[in-house]
């Protein structure tokens, strides 16, 4: 690679250049999705997105832990494992063995750990190629799933039903997602993770350097087991029943998400943010395609799109090192912010056009546009509070956003200023754009502030 001679600090951004593709794809898809169907960015839309995407995200994390460990190990059995935990939980609940949340989590995590421990032991001590071990697990588990439960059925416990409703953003599933992602980010700071990456990129070097590669590999499998168990719980919440037949699809989709997220299947590279974006991209692809209503051929179009996007993203990953010299100075974070601003503008545009006429039709006079514009996210509660104290809320909110934005921009500017990766000027420009965006957001509010608000947007 060309970045060998670069200063240590700049390699930080160079190694995460693989994030650029998922970020670009994410915002492109987000913009298309919002333009096609603004329902996505309502409270219910985001809620259901969280519910649907969480199992996929967690499955992708599970895959990532093993993929980073190297030796070309893609855990093909992740889908059947999720199905296995799912049907075991539902059957155990049906037999009145387990019912409380704690028991559910303990059983699921225990199963996931046990399975991955066996897999890890086989790979480390019998030394069969990991892909064959996972293939074997795939076949065995998809068989045993159908033995445990012949056809989709059964029910999830009462306390789990509201989890899968997806009517509001804040749900236990979201909490699970946040905790899982946070746990990964913390895990990525440990020495163990460093050993894992070292082993993934060069096992011999790791061994020579005194890393206990057996323990590290088994550890990676155990982590994957925990994430697969969490994915299974989120999946159970999503479908509120047991389904033994989803194995193949889930494996294929989550491998696609993993690759879309920029994790190298050769080992040694991968990150939570990338995988998160990859899984969200998969969800958005499905969502966008669903808005087109292809009728009978819908699933075929989805297949075609998955395949094409997977191949294109792989090819882009190949082309990336060649663009490295150009991209070296592009920070993914900056890229994210820039695109976020663009996407935010589009979202505002879409929701504004969508809801403003509705407000006037309701006969309540011109609704405060900021309340409407701001209501796109928090329709239920925040819109009402905004209606209660429109005069006070806006300036406060505005000032808060401005302050946070300024702080963040300053933080990045200082952090980056010591390097030659990017001149702080760019950050100032970004800051200015952010300020402008907030101003644009706030300006309509001044024009229509006195009018009473409606909660029309909630419908």
């Amino acid at each position: 690679m060309s970045g060998t001679a670069a200063a240590p600090r700049t390699t930080g951004s160079a190694t995460s250049a693989y994030l650029l593709v998922p970020i670009l794809l994410f915002f492109a898809l987000l913009i298309v999705a919002v333009l096609r169907s603004p329902h996505l960015i309502t409270s219910a839309g985001i809620g259901s997105a969280v519910i649907v995407a969480t199992p996929l995200v967690l499955a992708t994390f599970a895959l990532m832990a093993i993929a980073i460990a190297g030796r070309g190990s893609v855990d093909l059995s992740v889908g059947p494992l999720i199905g296995f935990i799912n049907v075991v939980l539902v059957q155990l609940f049906g037999a009145d063995v387990i019912s409380a949340p704690l028991e559910f989590f303990a059983t699921a995590i225990g199963l996931g750990l046990a399975y991955q421990l066996v897999m890890g032991l086989i790979i480390v001590f019998i030394r069969v190629q990991p892909i064959i071990v996972s293939l074997s697990g795939y076949l065995a588990l998809s068989g045993i799933n159908l033995v445990i439960m012949q056809r989709p059925g059964g029910t999830a416990p009462e306390w789990m039903l509201p989890w899968g409703a997806g009517t509001s953003i804040l749900s236990p599933v979201l909490a699970m997602l946040v905790v899982a992602t946070g746990a990964w980010l913390l895990f990525a700071r440990t020495a163990f993770f460093g050993h894992l990456r070292l082993m993934g990129s060069d096992e011999r070097a790791a061994y020579t350097a005194g890393v206990h590669i057996g323990i590290v590999r088994i550890g990676a499998h155990l982590i994957a087991g925990v994430y697969a168990a969490l994915a299974a719980i989120a999946y159970t919440a999503l479908i509120s029943s047991g389904d033994p037949t989803q194995g193949t699809t889930y494996t294929l989709i989550s491998v696609t998400a993993l690759v879309l997220g920029g994790t190298s299947l050769a080992g040694g590279r991968g990150g939570a943010i990338g995988s998160l974006l990859g899984a969200l991209n998969i969800y958005l692809i499905t969502y966008v395609l669903a808005t087109f209503s292809f009728g009978e051929v819908q699933s075929f179009v989805t297949d075609l799109a998955y395949g094409t996007i997977l191949v294109c993203s792989l090819l882009l990953t190949v082309a990336l090192p060649r663009l490295q010299s150009t991209l070296k100075h592009v920070s993914p974070l900056l890229f994210f912010i820039l695109l976020f601003i663009v996407a935010f503008g589009v979202i505002l545009h879409a929701t504004y056009d969508y809801s403003a006429p509705a407000g006037t039709e309701a006969g309540a006079g011109a609704a405060p546009a900021a309340a409407v514009a701001g209501a796109f996210l928090f329709e239920d509660a925040p819109a009402r509070t905004a209606a209660a104290m429109p005069m006070l809320a806006h300036p406060v909110a505005l000032a808060t956003v401005l302050l946070v934005a300024l702080l963040a921009v300053l933080r990045w500017a200082i952090a980056q200023a010591r390097t030659r990766s990017l001149s702080p000027l760019v950050y100032l420009v970004v800051g200015a754009v952010a300020v402008l965006a907030v101003y644009m957001l706030a300006r309509p509010a001044q024009t229509a502030a006195p009018a009473p608000a409606t909660t029309q947007g909630a419908t």
Partner: protein, 450 residues
């Protein structure tokens, strides 16, 4: 020391000969085929053991006497540790099952159990003798054991009709594995095979439905299959470590695209209806005939392909260069072998042969169905691996894959015969792949690679 391998092979040959004679005698005496087969296997085992013990062992001891070793029993334990443990386990399972299940303790079951134990010892004892092609040897032993078990336990297992049906299914799997084997020899993987099979299956019927003559339609489908392979090869050349996932993506796209194309203007999306020509049906149907013989042509096609592949890989420049590339890229490049050409070439072959399989499957089923290739997604991989072709490249060959295919097919047939449902079959497949691969395809420890 140099004469030893020769001695071993002679011993094997003698054992096989005697077993064949005993089998012939048994048939001549009008014994049931199952008994004759069992006695033949027992004779083979006894002769091979005797030869090993009296002819090969002393020579071996003479050869390695300088090394010096511990007590004889200790050495025996060390050498046959795994086999002894496995044998004891099987006997224990058998005893437990006899105690737990009524009517389990029958003569047939006792014989089956003894055969299993004997086979384990046989393979453990003999595999030490055979250094090269160990996987093929183990595969053959497993194949033989499974066949004997099947003949003992399942009525009509060794009948002509069942053999024919097994061979027909094995032909489909075997043809689907051609590409996978070649690709694996270069260290790649092709997961687009099932999707190409399904697409060819549906696409062929669709093209014939448009009024294209069937022969031209098949040629067209083969060319399209090769085109998919070409795309696979070109795209994955720079992404060799990720060929698995890339071909999977291409496969998804191809099968989605085919279905969209074929269901335009159709009321029944995903289903294509049409008339399959009789000659294509005859080619693959169970009651097909070749030149008046009562053998479905697809079996002969597979045999021809297998012979062509085995001989071709051994004797042609193309075949040798494939092994050279799979073994060591750098040294192959020094011999100015174009890696790109061969990499793309094997994928093209894989695509074309997969399309052929799809076309033949259309003749077998008589109706187009995109999901017809789904069982082959991991089955091709399993057959290649069980046969003993290394997924890392450079080791193995189509002959091995044929053994793998037959093992899988006989196993399926056996499991169906004893009344296991599909899910149990899959479960047992999964559990069996691991020990089979562990017998001969273990990777070396890291500490030996530094």
């Amino acid at each position: 020391m140099r004469a030893l391998p020769l001695l071993r092979w002679i011993g094997l040959g003698v054992a096989l000969l005697i077993a064949a004679i005993s089998f012939g005698l048994g048939l001549w005496q009008n014994l049931p085929a199952q008994q004759a087969m069992f006695y033949a296997a027992a004779t083979f085992a006894a002769v091979a053991w005797g030869w090993h013990h009296y002819a090969v062992r002393p020579g071996e001891h003479a050869a390695s006497s300088g090394a010096g070793s511990g007590g004889k029993s200790g050495e025996f334990w060390r050498r046959y540790r795994a086999a002894i443990i496995a044998g004891v386990l099987i006997i224990a399972v058998f005893l437990i099952a006899s105690a737990a299940i009524d009517g389990f303790f029958t003569w047939l079951n006792i014989i089956a159990c003894l055969v299993l134990v004997a086979l384990i010892f046989l393979s453990a004892g003999l595999s030490g003798l055979i250094v090269a092609n160990r996987s093929a040897f183990i595969g053959l032993i497993v194949l033989g054991g499974l066949f004997i078990l099947g003949a003992l336990k399942v009525d009509g297992f060794a009948s002509g009709a069942n053999l024919k049906s097994m061979l027909v299914f094995a032909s489909f799997l075997g043809l689907a594995c051609v590409g996978q084997t070649l690709v694996a020899l270069l260290g790649g993987l092709d997961l687009s095979i099932p999707f190409v099979i399904g697409s060819a299956n549906v696409g062929l019927l669709y093209i014939m439905g448009l009024g294209v003559p069937s022969v031209i339609a098949i040629i067209l489908i083969l060319l399209l299959g090769a085109l998919v392979g070409l795309i696979n090869g070109i795209l994955s050349f720079r992404l060799q470590g990720q060929a698995l996932i890339l071909t999977l993506g291409v496969g998804f796209a191809i099968s989605g695209g085919t279905q969209i194309l074929t269901s335009i203007g159709s009321k029944f999306a995903g289903n294509v209806f049409g008339q399959v020509p009789d000659w294509l049906k005859n080619l693959a149907a169970m009651n097909g005939q070749t030149f008046g013989l009562d053998v479905p042509p697809v079996i002969l096609i597979w045999i021809a392909v297998a012979i062509l592949m085995v001989l071709g890989m051994k004797n042609t420049v193309y075949g040798r260069y494939l092994y050279a590339l799979g073994g060591n890229r750098t040294s192959a490049a020094r011999m100015s072998i174009s890696e790109r050409r061969y990499w793309i070439g094997v994928y093209v072959i894989s695509g074309a042969v997969s399309a052929l399989t799809g076309a033949l499957l259309l003749g077998w089923s008589g109706g187009g169905f995109i999901g017809v290739g789904q069982p082959y997604l991991f089955m091709t991989l399993a057959a290649v691996v069980i046969g003993g072709t290394s997924l890392l490249g450079g080791n193995g060959g189509y002959g091995f894959t044929v053994i793998g295919v037959l093992v899988l097919q006989v196993l399926t047939s056996f499991l169906v015969g004893i009344g296991l449902t599909y899910e149990w079959q899959q479960f047992i497949f999964g559990l069996l792949i691991l020990p089979m691969v562990a017998l001969y395809a273990r990777s070396p420890h890291v500490r030996t690679q530094i």
